[in-house]
């Protein structure tokens, strides 16, 4: 079933707005996605009809809120084919999720242990490990990237060894769009008994991962990247790991017994959900997944691939334009520069034409260092974008270049 994009666009009220007098074209989807009415409505419905603090409440509205919140957890569990619902921890986003794991492993590692990070990482996936390694002196090794912006798997094989305790790779690179071979990475890591955390912040909006099939140990994502609201995300962790890790934050919900002498931690998932969670956010996250599933991830994938191909081909015809990470295994991102022109100038002029792109380092300075550039223009696509919008980008870009040359 092909997607009816015009109908889908009706679901996204923001797509009707004007920017600088022009129709708004949103190509900054890797930074955050836009939200369909259903998701927005679910937030309104929550606050107008059943807002309440959850858990431990005996009154009806608290029960309704709790059921909806836990219902969202179950939706997420099913979506990612997770064995136990308590293996899904609600967090405030990917960054928070990764920090829970980094903090958790702080006490589990020592100076003979090694962790491997990919060279394609977002800052969220680098800094927590540096902070952790400062404490436990574990060694950080890096899988370098090649000219096409792909991970060098030969180096991965050579640095993986019995001291490796953890491997951290994003599923899709936010700066380049590269899809990493996570299945292979996980299988190889498991052979040396290392755990694997996959940062799915950029992937989850494009394809549906099956966590049991992947046999992944941890997986993270943020609702705001997949048509959900800001301020909520998940950490998936295998039960055995979540039980092993100490809690990250102290507070309400996460303890079963508190005295001034001693505190017993509560069961999963509460151990990692201290304090009042983002109740409306979690519920709306579930609704966002329902929405995406109603379109179908296969359909989304097919359509986005054709958009990417069309845009790549078109942009490549522009002389002096260079795409970084122009490889076969990528999704929905085109990161480029035009010779002699600064990314910031292109971004500024495209904005005048109503087109939103991102410029700069994309929180991935090591990748920019690799290509020896200060930054790129990043066009990132979603299923509600159209070929017509790409044509508009092409024309505006040509005009911008001519103004700037």
């Amino acid at each position: 079933m092909a997607l009816d994009i015009n109908k889908i666009r009706e679901d996204f009220p923001i797509l009707k707005r004007k920017v600088n007098g022009n129709d708004f074209v949103y190509f900054d989807n890797a930074a955050t996605s836009q939200k369909p009415n259903k998701v927005i409505d679910s937030i309104v419905d929550y606050y107008k009809n059943y807002n309440s603090n959850i858990h431990r409440g005996v009154h009806t509205v608290s029960q309704e809120a709790t059921d909806a919140y836990e219902g969202a957890r179950t939706k997420i569990q099913k979506h990612f084919n997770v064995k136990n619902s308590h293996e899904i921890i609600f967090t405030s986003g990917t960054t928070h999720s990764i920090n829970i794991v980094a903090n958790g492993f702080k006490d589990l590692l020592n100076k003979n242990d090694e962790i491997i990070i990919s060279g394609l990482e977002h800052h969220s996936n680098i800094v927590p490990w540096q902070m952790m390694a400062e404490k436990n002196s574990a060694k950080i090794k890096v899988i370098p990237i090649n000219k096409q912006g792909e991970l060098n798997m030969e180096v991965y094989d050579s640095i993986l060894n019995k001291n490796t305790k953890l491997v951290f790779v994003n599923h899709v690179s936010n700066a380049l769009g590269t899809i990493n071979p996570i299945k292979e990475i996980i299988e190889k890591a498991h052979k040396v008994k290392a755990a694997v955390l996959i940062d799915g912040a950029q992937a989850a909006s494009h394809f549906k991962a099956d966590f049991q099939e992947l046999d992944v140990d941890f997986y993270t994502t943020s609702a705001h990247k997949l048509c959900g609201p800001t301020g909520v995300g998940i950490l998936f962790g295998k039960e055995k790991w979540l039980n092993k890790m100490p809690p990250y934050q102290g507070g309400g919900e996460m303890i079963s017994d508190v005295t001034f002498d001693k505190t017993t931690y509560a069961d999963l998932p509460h151990k990692f959900e201290a304090g009042t969670p983002n109740v409306s956010g979690a519920i709306a996250f579930g609704v966002a997944l329902d929405y995406l599933n109603s379109l179908g991830f296969d359909n989304i994938n097919l359509y986005e691939s054709s958009l990417l191909k069309y845009a790549t081909k078109k942009l490549k015809t522009i002389s002096g334009l260079k795409i970084y990470g122009d490889n076969e295994n990528k999704t929905s991102v085109i990161s480029f520069n035009v010779e002699g022109i600064h990314a910031y100038d292109i971004g500024t002029l495209l904005d005048k034409f109503g087109i939103a792109v991102r410029t700069g380092q994309h929180c991935a300075q090591p990748i920019m260092d690799h290509f020896e550039i200060p930054g790129t223009v990043r066009v990132s696509l979603a299923f509600y974008n159209t070929k017509k919008e790409i044509d508009k980008l092409y024309n505006s870009l040509k005009q911008a270049i001519s103004m700037l040359s």
């Binding site: 858990h55 431990r56 009806t60 709790t66």
Partner: protein, 138 residues
Amino acid sequence: MKIKEIQDIIVEEFSLFEDWMQKYEYMIDLGKSIDLIKPTNKIDSNLIDGCQSKLWLCAELKHDKIIYTADSEAIITKGMAAILLRVFSNQTPEDILRADLDYIDQIGLKEHLSPTRANGLVSMIKQMKYYALAYSKK
């Protein structure tokens, strides 16, 4: 009596109540009148987790049937426990494992068995089934 028969009787009994107040008065009476558990069994190891009021559950096998006893500090929880025990207690492990809880729905008290409600009754039912499983394997 078989589980299904008892359930049907309970559903019939509850069908006579005209409003929630009569229903709750009945539950409260159940909670008050029935002495559910031996005081010596009110020990921490018999406590059910996750409830605002303490809730104890005990099980013993007699003539191939499981006798459950329970108690709670909260009278409504105790009344609900009584309604559950009336069905499950004095039945064979196999029948207990097969039994469903549709009757609770039918008498309009399902809200008390929400897994997110802090009264411990869902954990209690789970624990009853565990006991039944354990005894059925003997």
